[in-house]
Symmetry: C2
Subunit: 596 residues, 2 copies
């Protein structure tokens, strides 16, 4: 089985040319993100992920996490790998320096995290959840909570979870029923059952810090009555040592299609008298904090789509080079490696070009996040925040749907061997399948995009983004060569389609939300594809700049070829998607429910 190699060259290209990490390094507090430091970090991360995480990906899938006596045992090697992960400081990369973190910007963390996810997605979910819990405590925790939990969580010696979902409350958090009963000492006793809790229990860390959504006795109904609590697995003594076992247990784990090494727990909270928890932030404001965490988590899951696509691509290329089967279609004296067959080439190009587009968009959004947080100018912060808010559902929804498509193609490139589990191609497809579901399904991302991010503000932000796309197109039009002609034409048609669909949404969402919303997912795909095409056009321009300035590395012409392919094979779907949005609402909703 082929192994994972971090695509360092492409990562550096995207960081420097498209996400402009140099600009991020000018922001106060991010001065460390100078290019040589970033390069060193990515090099080390590449070694760690290829050497430590990737070798456990297939074995972790085959063995899976196991459960007995209310405890989860991780597959062979995971505990040791996690110890190395913590010792090397990877968990602390983006953490607040006040609590021992390295304070690196999100754009650098994104590249590092992409490597975790490509090399071993099931492993990567543990730090993903920990980072989400850290974010919630940073945002709303008291000083005492921060002091008690953050140093160990940032180091990674303690991990975190998000206890949100209940059997009747999946996408609909209003239906949450877990209860939090205040105690005389200011703590709460928490009672409830939570499901789908990623890394709800495991044996890789000393302690697990659960963040739990629950209702206090007099809380209003619905989403306005949900509070956030911190519930440690082991209580923490005033001196920082671990105390008694708290009353929150993993009572079973799920048998899943993929990510077998990541334990998905059913949590019984408070079955023996109540789990002890403390309130995070204000009562009834839990959902607000959860949404902040969720935005970070949605971005991170979007990275998973990209990362699995990259891993599946590498795996498919390796097989296509080595597998000899059939003559060339134009004739050849003997059999050829299948990478020479036109359709295999087309599939690999579909994988390669869309991975590049997803990476460019994700890192650019991460850089905008950094500016939104740290830019000295308030207007710049607001502008960047609006861009991030618009793009989070796109990065999440589009990248994960695309990651699934690419892992499907990865299996196809392998032919019959792709269906055999030992080959490894099928694992990427199985692991990818959860990414369009958790942290909000694609449908939920699309509703967020169409409703909250576009219709609510009359399309102000998306119109400014379309304006930026148009400026890029104007630059492309100035370039010579058939590739740039094709890229300009495709980007022009893509922008037109996006503009048409946006106008339709802004004009009709208020009057007929139901009909318009039936086109939400096609619109999200359209937005992703055209945003990706914009990024590919920017990449081609940057590559052309390098070529014009005398660079002879074939990496740069390859960037232009890949952008050309994306224009010819991916952007061509834009017009059809816009038609679905604009004219497809009625036929989607006409059929009587009873007729299905």
């Amino acid at each position: 089985m082929s192994s994972y190699t971090a695509p360092l060259k492409d990562m550096h290209f995207v960081l420097t040319e498209l996400a402009r990490v140099d600009k991020v390094a000018e922001l106060p507090g991010y001065e460390e993100a100078a290019s040589d430091v970033v390069e060193a970090i990515l090099d080390e991360s590449a070694k760690f992920t290829s050497g430590v995480l990737a070798p456990l990906n297939a074995s972790g899938d085959q063995e899976g996490a196991s459960w007995a006596d209310k405890s989860v045992t991780m597959p062979k090697g995971f505990k040791e790998a996690y110890a190395q992960f913590v010792d090397s400081g990877w968990n602390a990369l983006s953490g607040n320096p006040e609590h021992g973190g390295q304070g690196l910007p999100k754009v650098v963390a994104a590249a590092v995290q992409e490597m975790w996810k490509s090399s071993n997605m099931a492993f990567s979910l543990c730090p993903l959840l920990t980072l989400g819990a850290i974010e919630a405590l940073e945002l709303a925790g008291s000083d005492a909570q921060k002091a008690m939990y953050l140093p160990n969580m940032i180091a990674g010696t303690w991990t975190g979870t998000m206890n949100i979902t209940e059997p009747q409350a999946g996408s609909d958090l209003a239906a949450i029923r877990s209860r939090a009963v205040p105690q005389a000492d200011g703590t709460y006793r928490i009672f409830g059952q939570k499901i789908f809790i990623t890394y709800g229990d495991h044996d890789m860390a000393e302690n697990t810090i659960h963040l739990v959504l629950a209702r206090t006795p007099d809380a209003p109904e619905g989403v306005k009555g949900i509070s956030l609590f911190v519930v440690p697995k082991f209580m923490v003594n005033p001196d920082g040592s671990l105390g008694e076992r708290n009353d929150a247990y993993c009572v079973s784990i799920e048998h899943k299609l993929g990510i077998h090494a990541s334990p998905t727990c059913v949590m019984a909270i408070g079955d023996s008298g109540g789990a002890i928890g403390t309130l995070v932030g204000k009562e009834n404001d839990g959902l607000k904090y959860m949404f902040v965490m969720m935005n970070a988590a949605r971005f991170a899951v979007g990275l998973e789509g990209l990362a699995i696509g990259e891993a599946a691509y590498q795996h498919a290329v390796a097989y296509a080079r080595e597998r000899v089967q059939g003559r060339a279609i134009e004739g050849s004296p003997s059999g050829v490696p299948i990478i020479q067959h036109p359709d295999i080439r087309r599939m690999l190009m579909l994988m390669r070009s869309q991975v590049e587009a997803m990476r460019a968009l994700a890192y650019s959004v991460a850089a905008a996040h950094d500016a939104a947080v740290r830019h000295p100018d308030a207007a710049e912060r607001a502008k960047n925040q609006a861009f991030v808010d618009l793009m989070i559902p796109v990065v999440k929804g589009w990248s994960t749907e695309t990651g699934n498509e690419l892992s499907y193609l990865g299996v196809q490139v392998h032919g019959g061997m792709g269906f055999i589990e030992e080959t490894g191609a099928a694992q990427f497809m199985r692991d990818a399948r959860i990414t369009t579901i958790y942290e909000g399904t694609t449908g939920i991302q699309a509703n967020d995009l169409m409703g909250r991010k576009i219709a609510r503000e009359g399309g102000a932000t998306i119109k400014s983004v379309i304006g930026m796309m148009q400026l890029t197109r104007d630059e492309v039009v100035k370039q010579a060569g058939a590739e740039f002609v094709a890229i300009a034409a495709a980007l022009g048609r893509g922008i037109e389609a996006l503009q048409q669909a946006t106008d339709y949404i802004v004009s009709n969402y208020g009057a007929d939300v139901r009909t318009v919303a039936s086109g939400a997912v096609p619109f999200l795909r359209l937005m992703g594809i055209v945003s990706g095409g914009w990024m590919m056009a920017r990449a081609a321009l940057a590559a052309q700049d390098k070529i014009s300035s005398g660079e002879s590395d074939p990496f740069f012409p390859a960037k232009i070829t890949t952008a050309h392919f994306y224009a010819d094979h991916v952007m061509v779907t834009a017009a059809g998607l816009a038609l679905e949005v604009v004219q497809g609402g009625t036929s989607a909703l006409t059929l009587d429910e009873a007729r299905f």
Copy 2:
């Protein structure tokens, strides 16, 4: 978990209104296919598949086939179900009456087989392979071979296999190395290793009749030196009783992504002195016979795409009706079943409409096959055969790719539960994944379509099919109502796209096969989507006829709605696919192999 119910009403509609089973019943030898007989058969088949096969689908997946001591043991219940299958005469449905078959036409068998595949795809592969082996023996077997094997194979008491693939010979049969050494008694000793042999061993039948591709000592190289042999698991004595165990053994089975109950065998043939086989037909003509079998098998695998889509659709609808989650987007007093959410509705319509399109095309092709075989007029036979030859790769390639997409959507409708294996949605997705690979990958179907079926004859058949599509469109244009306006417009655009891509292929295939072939799969998808749209338009016209003649069943307006949806949401992709074919070849092939 929901169970399978055969969609009898839609099957009857397609059989009577689109595939015109009444015309098939007028063909000599098919008089039995009168509508009341067909109805009775489908009713019985529906009971058998819901009652016997469907209940074993999930348990068969979980337990899987197992191997020990060169023998395969089937999961619990399969042996008994197979006995019932044979006793009820299902295996003999389409068999030659001379050898005990019922001689029903392919169009009726297609509907029955769809039910096998929907209810339990892993089970259905056993009769699929048997029917293929029967077809080869019917075509090329000697009278003695027919007499020895066919009665038991048609009854199903003996099953069949196709031993084709070898480790170095997957898609490329020229690379086959198995040897056949002639003996003094007229038999051959066969030696070789075969892989991916479906039902190469199992415990459901008394005997297994292997059809094996191998080379005789003086055979020419490549595909012109391959012969077909019949190699029974147990030798057959002159009185028909079973004799000695032959030297062909299953030495291991594969650990696969799906169809766990279907044993995929590595066969060691002749390791202890040589397996005894007899030549089928003429020496070195094996590939010719294999292609006839393959066309039947490709059609049958196309049915699998449709069948899995149907099963996934039923499963998703059942969940979407019962799962209450979230308020209606336009507001509702409390939570609603998710079938009311617009995006869920869109996904279910995508599933429903494409299943209907695939079924209509597949049954129509089956009816054309029946006419190609039995029509008294030679010109009619030839015309129908040309249509079948053109459409086989479309039914196979398009229906299986679509079946995968639909089972993917089925998981998505289930949200988080879709990722949990016990729900059953994921199994459809895993089982479907092989269908675009075996019996020739989608790439191979697409090359066959573009090269052998279109370019070679200058597009004669496809042009006549486009002409038929145009006639249907002319009828649609005459209808009143917004649905028909939309259907006519979409079909018109689809025909235009197909025409444009066809012209490009016919004009350029000879001069630059490599570039043109890189668009083969997008072309196959285009052809499938537009052919499906043609069928949906025919269905809408037939439904409108019923409505105009006073039928009040809501089934008929639903047909028009579904065709309208297909026009708005599926046909819209046609133009982009044509662009990929016509302009995408260069960018697909430019990148240097070393740069991947």
